[in-house]
Symmetry: C2
Subunit: 125 residues, 2 copies
Amino acid sequence: MSAEWDPYRGDCPSRMLLDRIGDRWTVLVVGVLSDGPHRFSELGRRVVGISQKMLTQTLRSLERDGLITRTVYAEVPPRVEYRLTEAGHTLQEPLRALQTWATEHMDAVVDSRRAYDRVGGRLDR
Amino acid sequence: MSAEWDPYRGDCPSRMLLDRIGDRWTVLVVGVLSDGPHRFSELGRRVVGISQKMLTQTLRSLERDGLITRTVYAEVPPRVEYRLTEAGHTLQEPLRALQTWATEHMDAVVDSRRAYDRVGGRLDR
DNA sequence: CTGTATCCGCCTTGATACTG
DNA sequence: CAGTATCAAGGCGGATACAG
C-alpha cells in the first residue's frame, strides 16, 4: 500500500492531508466544529491556547479546502459563523479513529518513553 | 466529545498524537514499515525525500514511544532492522482510514482551492 | 466582534562533514 | 552500512497594535 505514496508530489493525498493536520490546530478546530456551527470567538475559547492569528489562519485554510463554510451576518456587532461542510463532516470519522487510538495507547506510550529515557535512550543491544 | 480535549496538557492524547504525526515523516515511515521489517537504508530509499538526519530522528522517536523496535545484527557490514511493535501495528488502522479519506477527497479539495484562489480568497458575501 | 498587519524568536529541517 | 555532529536557513507561531 505504501508503495504508491509519493511524498514528492504536492498533490499526493498523504502529503496533502499531512500538511493540513500537521499544523497543530486544524484537528482541534474541526473537533470543536463537530458539535455544530460556532462563531469566531466561541472557537477561540474552546480551542484553548490558540492565538487569534492562528485561529484565523486555520479557519481560512479549512475554508479554502472546502471543509468549512464561513457565513457573515450583517448585524451589530458583526457575527460570523463557521460550520463543517459535507466533506468536513466525513473527515470527522478518521479523525475520531485517531483520537480513539491516542486515548487507548497514551498510557503505554508514556510508559515507554519513561523507560527509554531512564536507560539513556539505548534499548538495543 | 471535543469538550474534554485539553490542548494545554502535554500528555493529552490529542496533542501527543498530533505532535507525533505532525512531524511530516512519521506517518510515511510507519506506512513503509507496514509492509514488514526494513533496514535503515531501505527506509531511506522508500521514504523519498527524507534526509538521513530526519530518518534517524523519526526512528528514534518511534522507538521511544514503543511503536517500533530496533534490532542490531552483529555483522559486517552492520545491519539494523526496524519493525513495528504490536502497538505500532494498531496505529496502522486509523492511519489507513486517514489515507483513504485523503484519497477520496483529494480532487474535491484541489478544486476547492482553485476556486477559492481564483476569486481572491473571498467566497463569503 | 472579527479580523488584519507586523515584528520576532524558536524550532524544525536540510546540507554537509565525519565516525565506528 | 548506519549513524552522529554541527551549522545555517526558513517557517511556524506568539505577542502586539490597529481597523471595519
